[in-house]
Amino acid sequence: MSDRASPQAPKAPSKGGSTISSWRASYRRYRRDHKWLGWGIPLAAVVLAFSYPWWGLEGPLSFIFNDGLGIDNDTLFIMSIYVMLALGLNVVVGYAGLLDLGYVAFFALGAYTLGWFGSGLFSQRDVHFLDTNAARLPGIHLSFWVVVLLAGAICAFAGILIGWPTLRLRGDYLAIVTLGFGEIIPDVFRNGDDVGGHNLTNGVRGVTQLDRPGFGQSISDATGGILPVRYTSLELRPWYFTVLAMMLITVFVNLRLRDSKMGRAWIAVREDEIAASAMGVPLMRTKLWAYAIGAVFGGFAGAIYGSFINGIFPTSFSFQISVIVLVMVIVGGMGNIWGVIAGAMLISWLNFRGLDKIGERIGSLPGVSDDFSIAKYKFGIFGALLVLMMLFRPEGLIPSTRRRAEFAEGEGQATLYDARA
């Protein structure tokens, strides 16, 4: 919807318009005349992403991507996880306009779902369902894929439970309450080792030895070993492909919802709740859907992240994550899927590897101390980045046409309505 060529697009760039905007205009014209680009570009991006291990990790361009930028298997995985989280939060913040400062709660809940249904946490129990562990371990061990779905379902349910009372609030009030929930949920996990005598979360010691994804012997044999029996910590490519596939599902759902009846209702609610409600949009239901769908992706991401890290601790799910994911959505361009993906990739790379790499480079310069570490100033840098973005490009790196229009407001096109108001 938002990416559709708008009627303003073919207009010649105005006098004195920057080169960038004239490029944008000609790009839009080109896009309009070459419809196949609509699916061609995403397809190319998918192919590039899946083939990254062959051209970025190793092979011709590895000296830039693997060595120079430090995008190795671990970083790739984390970046993909954050893209999923950012896309999930994009539904809540970008589409429905609900400022959620506690998104990490769903990430944590997804991870703990894996703790409950795919580890030895409940070692007195002995429940197994299609799990791919080498031996029959004590505890509840469901197939990893079932656990991922469960994590989504549990997070959706939690989203509705949390959203039911809180989504009646607006703006700042909602932000503060979600902030509270984001803090409460990790605390619940921290103190959940003695709930009426039951150890539900193992407290600060966290849950370790988590089940890994896998396809089992028979499927693995049937595919000639392409689908592994069980993912390992030595061979990281399957992890990357899996999280990439989950990310693609997230993108697909985001796209489909954006252009759906629900997507329109979300934007309408964001624009004007009273008008939306008068036009037949049920406010609570619409907001709850956004909240629950956002939560589902947080849950998916949490489950596979927990499995990859092979340890879930209450301290891993701090307020920082909520903020960083929100920054990704804002820096990338709220509401625009491609912008959010770009923002998430950039920020997560900077956060996990980029700043270290930049620091190394600076440290190796003559006259600079070897232990110079730019990563220490991480939050200062992110803060400065955010301030600069707000000053120079408040609509984000790749804004949706809608957002661009929104931020162009007040630049000499005040309507009569504004004048009257």
């Binding site: 919807m1 559709r4 708008s6 009627p7 759902v253 489909r256 919802l257 759906s260 009846k261 629900m262 997507g263 329109r264 209702a265 934007i267 309408a268 624009e271 004007d272 009273i274 008008a275 939306a276 409600s277 008068a278 036009m279 037949g280 949009v281 049920p282 406010l283 859907w289 769908i293 809608r402 957002r403 229009a405 929104e406 407001e409 096109q413 309507t415 009569l416 309505y417 009257r420 108001a421």
Partner: protein, 264 residues
């Protein structure tokens, strides 16, 4: 033209509706009916409680006492979206379009309660849903053309001219498939030509689409020109009701409202 309402002939009945904000009585025990197929105007000086009354009818406010019956269903206390689903639509005094959505998207949002497609079928992209969406887009285009906005589908609402924004508000309200249309000062800010066009348009609506209309209006030419009945509110109380001519000559009305308007 219209016989006085006798129960079932009325599309809407408000019985002893009262609304208090703290100590202020905004609407004071008002009885009110809209006969099916008629155009009824609600007039009164500023602060008379017209918009409050409107908001009670559409579910934005819950009345302190009294009830509203719309097509046989009690609607007082229902949230606005349920009232809309039952077939009542409104426009706003100060235009409340979705400014950063295109004209056609504005209209499509208003079809929310009429479209069946859910979240799951949207994600899966079922053919049934695609047919429904295509149909909705087509109908939205038709509605825009009908409301005087042909070819403006992709224009952002906020970039439309003032008159076009008013037209889009009506198109959006019509998209909810209403039986009763509530227009809150629809000609405010329009020039005389636009006002005349709009009056013709409302008359056409009633004639072609079988929609009853409730109008809040300050422009007496509009009110006297198209209303079948006029109700006058002052300080939250109904002070007169009847055909435009009768109301025009009612002493209390002249005193409260028309007197100053006629000489001014």
């Amino acid at each position: 033209m219209m016989a006085d309402g006798n129960g079932s002939k009325n599309i809407l009945e408000a019985v002893q509706v009262r609304k208090e904000f703290g100590g202020l009585i905004a609407v004071n025990d008002v009885d009110f009916v809209i006969p099916r197929g008629s155009i009824v105007s609600l007039i009164g000086p500023n602060g008379a409680g017209k918009t409050t009354f409107f908001n009670i009818l559409t579910g934005v406010y819950k009345p302190t006492a009294g009830g509203v019956i719309f097509e046989g269903t009690t609607i007082s206390g229902l949230p606005p979206h349920k009232v809309t689903a039952l077939g009542m639509a409104r426009t706003f005094q100060n235009i409340r379009l979705f400014h950063n959505m295109t004209a056609i998207e504005n209209v499509l949002v208003a079809m929310h309660s009429r479209l069946k497609g859910g979240v799951w079928s949207s994600i899966l992209g079922l053919p049934r849903l695609k047919r429904e969406e295509d149909g909705a887009h087509e109908r939205a285009s038709e509605l825009l053309a009908f409301s005087g906005l042909p070819g403006k589908e992709e224009a952002y609402a906020k970039n439309l001219s003032y008159g076009d924004q008013r037209r889009l508000e009506v198109a959006r309200a019509l998209a909810t498939e209403p039986h009763l249309l509530l227009l809150d000062e629809p000609t405010a800010g329009m020039n005389p030509e636009e006002t005349a066009n709009f009056t013709t348009f409302v008359a056409k609506l009633r004639a072609e689409q079988d929609i009853s209309v409730l109008l809040i209006e300050h422009d007496m030419r509009v009110v006297m020109g198209i209303s079948d009945r006029v109700t006058v509110l002052d300080y939250g109380e109904k002070i007169a009701e009847g055909e435009p001519k009768e109301v025009q000559h009612d002493e209390r009305v002249i005193e409260a409202y028309l007197g100053t308007a006629a000489t001014g």
